[in-house]
């Protein structure tokens, strides 16, 4: 039996082997035509030929009713399925055999086909997903392990951009906050998390557009705010983690960083402490901004004292970018506490304490009538910024439709600067110190009236005091200058606002009561100084107290792309001044109307915008010096003279065009005009040779500015040439002291040519040159012509993501006919960095070197003056580091 089966199997196999080639080549063709019951062709019907066990042999889709089915390897019964949605399917049984060629016609009859509506609910996981206004990024899909903190991750996410200063932009707009697991731990100080939270702790990052931090206004108020929400990997109850980075190197340099994060359901905490002597992270405090209503403390730029000695210097670039000779300690302690289901509190404290040192040597050579002598000058600078910031914030949902928010902030900061000049001929010392104290409390109640309207009531109180002292003296005290300034504020603001949403339009009306008391005092005593640091003997005293009470109503209406604002206030001011040069008046009452409207038009390549505003206002010292109480002693009091109620008209028109794809060009044209109906005085003479007229200034009573800029891009030599040109024309009329009206004209042109490589190598090269020419003319002084040239070279070598060498070289040459001077500088900054990563441990080596030199040449009244200055920084640093976390 077994033998019989074996023989049968043998013959079957043989038969297959013998006949297989014939079967392969056996072809059949079925053509056909499909119509509906009325004889009209049906295109798009599916025609499927299946074998007896339902396997598909071939198929076609009808085109104009025609189909064609072909097969090569089937012989037997088959089923031809002809189907079309809305018609009864036809199943035709066909006997297929070798060389079959038939033509069929099928008529499909209408049917009451019932389609099943379905919804698939399965969740899908994406690297980036978008839901409404939220874009979510699965971080693991974008990082490669070289990222240190959140900021490094954000740089790699599509749609995000991080600036050199650490500002985070999403889709080109600045973000407002960074939340952790939905918790607002930091307020608007989002650089604390972005620069400190470790990249490895983050699982997801969400960008939320049109964010409203007051959910009671949802659907009523439009928002253009964007925030970021960080979702952490570990979501356990307390979830503590600690990260440490320690670096130490040559010449006792150090860089220490430690942070702790905990994101429990009740308590969220982030604490960070940094200390270094290499000039990094020297940012936490601002200068002397007088706070306005309801501001939150920001972790912003370093204290930068404007130097009255030299205002234009390429070395300032070094100071801001990489202060190699400073030390700074900073820390931030942030808590978010869930008090109960209705309320939560935020408690914050931050500090910074720093010390920056600069040192430069200059050799000055004078040549007069064949006689020469030299001055060897040594300049030192020590800055000590110091700041504490604290905040208590409470959010309490009183009712379902009502919410109270309270925000208390204290801010204590101080700073000192000692600058000294020692030479073989003279010695000067300059002392500056600042002390600032600010406290504010803000109370806000929001009540949602209907789905489209809400009421907001606010009460704010602010107290601040800013004191400053400045002293300049020479070694034997024969020459000196001292200045004492102080500003104190008491500020109460109570306001109510009604908001109504009218579909895509918004309407609001508000009333406001303000009472502001301000003390201002300044005393300047100027002795006899013969150096260029002073301009003569002078004593100036200003002391004033002013109190402003205002009741204001505001009407705001947005429709289409037009925006109208109308603001009417009744203002009462009491002003007392000891200053004898200001025609200030006591007990001023006036109506303060503000009107503005604007229109903006956009299309794919061009934009134009138009804005007009009118304001009647009382201009006083605070308006002229709103942000900085370090007054330039050479202009204070001399420039400020006329103070009065003025009507201000401002007109701005902008036209811009960009076509960077086809014509590779961008262009913009702007017109600005502002005028005041009375003189308000000017604070200084405008110096186009120093200032870039790309910004709009309004130093005069009538100011007109026309600006034009064109950028062109040229692809060549496997790289891109960028050609930029700017032209600005500026006319203004102003008063200096009580002199006659002065007419001023200034123009400035700026050109730059930059070439940047697009090589597919680890080397990147950028080389460029900037050229600027300026002219200033006045009916009271002689013309000033100046020009400057500014070449730059940057080479970056980055063979892997862990290794970097960069060399950045810049130089600067300035010529001016007013003093026949030539000023040239050069700066070379090089950096070498290597990182080695293994599991949770990271080892790194970083070395940097900085060189700078300045040469100056001037010819004045027949004598020549040259100088060579070298800025001594701790030019070389080498650090070895280890980083680990728990």
């Amino acid at each position: 039996m077994k033998l019989k089966r074996s023989i049968l199997f043998f013959f079957q196999v043989m038969a297959i082997l013998v006949f297989f080639p014939l079967m392969v080549h056996a072809q059949f063709t079925i053509k056909g035509y499909v119509t509906d019951s009325e004889g009209d062709e049906l295109g798009g019907a599916t025609v499927v030929l299946k074998d007896s066990i339902n396997n598909i042999i071939d198929y076609d889709i009808t085109t104009s009713g025609n189909f064609k089915i072909q097969g090569t390897d089937y012989d037997g019964t088959s089923l031809l399925n002809v189907r079309f949605l809305g018609y009864q399917p036809i199943v035709d049984t066909l006997k297929i055999h070798e060389n079959l060629a038939i033509t069929k016609k099928y008529v499909l009859q209408d049917s009451s086909y019932s389609l099943n509506e379905v919804k698939v609910t399965e969740e899908i996981s994406w690297e980036v997903s978008q839901k409404g206004d939220t874009t979510s990024y699965n971080v693991s899909g974008f990082i490669d392990g070289t990222e240190h903190v959140v900021e490094d991750v954000l740089k790699k996410l599509p749609g995000f951009q991080v600036t050199d200063k650490g500002n985070v932009l999403f889709k080109g707009e600045n973000i407002k906050k960074i939340l952790i697991e939905g918790g607002d731990l930091f307020g608007e100080s989002y650089k604390i998390p972005s620069k400190n939270i470790k990249a490895g702790t983050i699982e997801n990052i969400e960008a939320i557009e049109n964010y409203l931090d007051n959910e009671k206004l949802k659907g009523i108020k439009d928002s253009d705010l964007t925030i970021v929400n960080l979702q952490l990997k570990d979501k356990s109850l307390f979830n503590p983690s600690l990260n440490n980075s320690l670096k130490y190197g040559y010449s006792d340099y150090y860089d220490i960083e430690s942070d702790f994060i905990m994101t429990g359901r009740i308590l969220k905490n982030f604490t960070v402490v940094n200390g270094n002597s290499i000039g990094e992270k020297g940012v936490i405090t601002s200068g002397h901004n007088i706070p306005t209503e309801g501001i939150l403390p920001q972790k912003v730029d370093a204290i930068i004292f404007e130097s009255p000695i030299r205002k234009t210097s390429i070395f300032s670039d070094i100071e801001k970018r990489r202060m190699n000779d400073n030390s700074v300690w900073s820390g931030s302690f942030n808590n978010l506490i869930k008090l109960d289901d209705k309320s939560k509190a935020r408690v914050k404290y931050s500090f910074l304490s720093g010390k920056n040192k600069f040192h430069e040597n200059t050799q000055k050579n004078y040549l007069l009538n064949q006689n020469s002598f030299s001055v060897n000058e040594e300049r030192k600078l020590i800055q000590k910024p110091f700041k504490h910031v604290g905040q208590l914030y409470i959010d309490y949902n009183v009712f379902k439709n009502g919410k109270i928010r309270m925000n208390n902030i204290f801010n204590i900061s101080s700073g000192s600067r000692i600058r000294s000049i020692n030479s073989n001929i003279y010695t000067y010392t300059e002392d500056l110190s600042n002390n600032n104290l600010e406290y504010s409390t803000n109370l806000e109640y929001t009540h949602r009236l209907t789905s489209k309207s809400a009421l907001i009531a606010r009460a704010s109180y602010l107290f601040s005091s800013h004191d400053q002292s400045f002293e300049l003296r020479n070694s034997d005290l024969s020459n000196s200058l001292t200045q004492e300034n102080g500003i104190g504020h008491d500020y109460i603001n109570i306001s109510g606002k009604y908001l109504l949403s009218l579909g895509s339009d918004e309407f609001s009306i508000s009333g406001k009561y303000t009472n502001r008391k301000r003390d201002f005092s300044s005393t300047i005593t100027e002795g006899k100084l013969t150096d260029t640091l002073s301009v003569g003997n002078y004593i100036n005293n200003i002391s004033s107290v002013d109190e402003t009470t205002a009741i204001k109503g505001e009407y705001e209406y947005n429709i289409n792309s037009w925006k109208f604002d109308f603001n009417l206030g009744y203002v009462s001011k009491r002003f007392n001044s000891l200053d004898d040069r200001n025609d200030l008046r006591n007990n001023i009452q006036y109506l303060e109307p503000i009107l503005s409207f604007r229109k903006r038009f956009l299309d794919s390549q061009a934009e134009w915008a138009f804005n007009y505003s009118y304001k009647k206002d009382f201009i006083d010292i605070g308006e002229v010096y709103p942000n900085n109480i370090l007054l330039d002693y050479r202009t204070l009091g001399k420039g400020l003279n006329k103070v009065s109620i003025v009507s201000k008209h401002t007109l701005l028109g902008i036209l811009s065009y960009s076509d960077i794809f086809d014509k590779l060009i961008t262009a913009s044209l702007s017109l600005f005009h502002s005028s005041h109906d009375k003189a308000i005085g000017s604070i200084s003479i405008y110096e186009p040779a120093i200032n870039n007229i790309s910004k709009v200034y309004t130093p005069g009573n009538k100011n007109t500015n026309i600006g034009l800029s064109i950028d062109k891009y040229v692809d060549v030599l496997r790289g891109t040439f960028v050609i930029t040109s700017n032209f600005s024309w500026f006319e203004y009329y102003n008063y200096i002291n009580d002199l006659a009206l002065r007419h001023n004209l200034a123009s400035s042109s700026k050109y730059s040519l930059t070439y940047r490589t697009d090589w597919d190598t680890p080397v990147d090269l950028e080389v460029g040159i900037n050229y600027r020419i300026s002219k200033y003319a006045s009916d009271k002084t002689s013309d000033i012509n100046s020009s400057s040239i500014f070449p730059l070279l940057e080479i970056v070598y980055k063979p892997t993501s862990k290794f970097l060498i960069s060399i950045d070289s810049k130089s600067y040459q300035y010529f001016s006919n007013s003093s026949n001077k030539i000023d040239s500088m050069i700066l070379i900054d090089s950096l070498l960095e290597y990182k080695y990563l293994k599991n949770k441990l990271s080892f790194s080596v970083k070395g940097s070197n900085l060189l700078g030199q300045n040469k100056f040449k001037q010819q004045i009244n027949g004598y020549y003056y040259t100088s060579v200055t070298s800025r001594k920084v701790r030019s070389t640093s080498i650090l070895f580091g280890v980083e680990f976390s728990f």
Binding site: E38, D40, E41, L42, G43, G44, A45, T46, V48, I56, Y59, I61, T62, T63, S64, N81, R83, F84, L85, G86, P89, L115, N116, E117, V118, K119, V120, I124, W126, V128, S129, Q130, G141, L169, K171, G172, S504, L602, S604, S656, S658, D659, I660, F661, D662, L664, T666, S709, Y713, T720, F721, R756, D758, D764, E766, E794, V796, K798, L804, S806
Partner: protein
């Protein structure tokens, strides 16, 4: 009311002009897909009626439009919030197809023949949204796709430019995980105005669009690099397109 009447007239003209057969379903069918394109997730809508179809995606409301280059701030916003969106309109199988697609600079209408993708029908089966789905594999413009179609809905169509299998495509994925269309909903009825924007445009050919696309990438990369600081480099190879072969080597 006037708009409704006008829309109805236009729709009726299209229906009467469709040329082949009677309406298969007087209300049409709307199929919604979850779409993944590289690192972007969005939703696509396929509207089917008679022998015509429209597939549209990346469409935004008109109040979300933003596209601007701000020179002073150095900001450049790509017009990702396009109110027309991208779409593919197909006439009857084997005939014409119109699509709207963009280079980096602007949108173009592309007119081409509905592609004939050589599908290899497999025996594998699975259920998607209650429909019995069959597997097919095929390659189209630089990507290899696995699709799942259902013969229970005998319409040879699918998301985007995919189609040509004997049933509606419910799911399609490429083999490198960059492109994915997954069924989300099937509904009866379609908005009547959906068909009015198709088929009336004068389009350029696919090859011509391809040339313009590559040209725009090249220009954009050069431009961005010229604006960026030291270490930044625009990776031209990182540009994503569903039609992978659009990018010239």
């Amino acid at each position: 009311m006037c708009i409704w009447i006008l829309s109805s007239i236009i729709l009726n003209v299209l229906i009467l002009d469709s040329g082949s057969g009677q309406p298969i379903d007087s209300r049409g069918i709307t199929v919604e897909y979850d779409i993944k394109l590289s690192d972007v997730q969005t939703t696509g809508m396929l509207f089917l009626k008679n022998n015509r179809s429209v597939f549209e995606w990346l469409k935004f409301d008109s109040n979300e439009v933003s596209s601007k280059f701000n020179k002073k701030k150095g900001k450049f916003k790509i017009n990702s919030r396009d109110t027309t969106g991208k779409f593919v309109c197909k006439k009857e199988h084997g005939k014409e197809m119109f699509s709207r697609n963009r280079t980096l600079s602007k949108y173009y209408y592309i007119k081409e023949k509905i592609p004939s993708i050589p599908w290899d029908l497999k025996q594998d089966e699975k259920v998607i949204g209650g429909y019995e789905a069959h597997k097919a594999v095929g390659a189209f413009r630089g990507r290899s796709y696995t699709v799942w179609y259902t013969p229970e809905i005998p319409i040879s169509n699918g998301p985007w430019k995919l189609g040509g299998v004997p049933g509606l495509i419910l799911e399609a994925k490429d083999n490198v995980g960059e492109v994915s269309f997954q069924l989300k909903k099937i509904k009866k009825n379609i908005p009547s105005v959906k068909f009015t924007k198709c088929f009336a445009k004068k389009g350029i050919s696919w090859e011509e669009f391809r040339e313009r696309f590559n040209d725009s990438i090249d220009r954009f990369a050069r431009y961005m690099e010229s604006r960026m600081s030291g270490e930044a480099k625009v990776n031209i190879n990182g540009i994503f397109n569903i039609e992978k072969s659009i990018i010239k080597e």
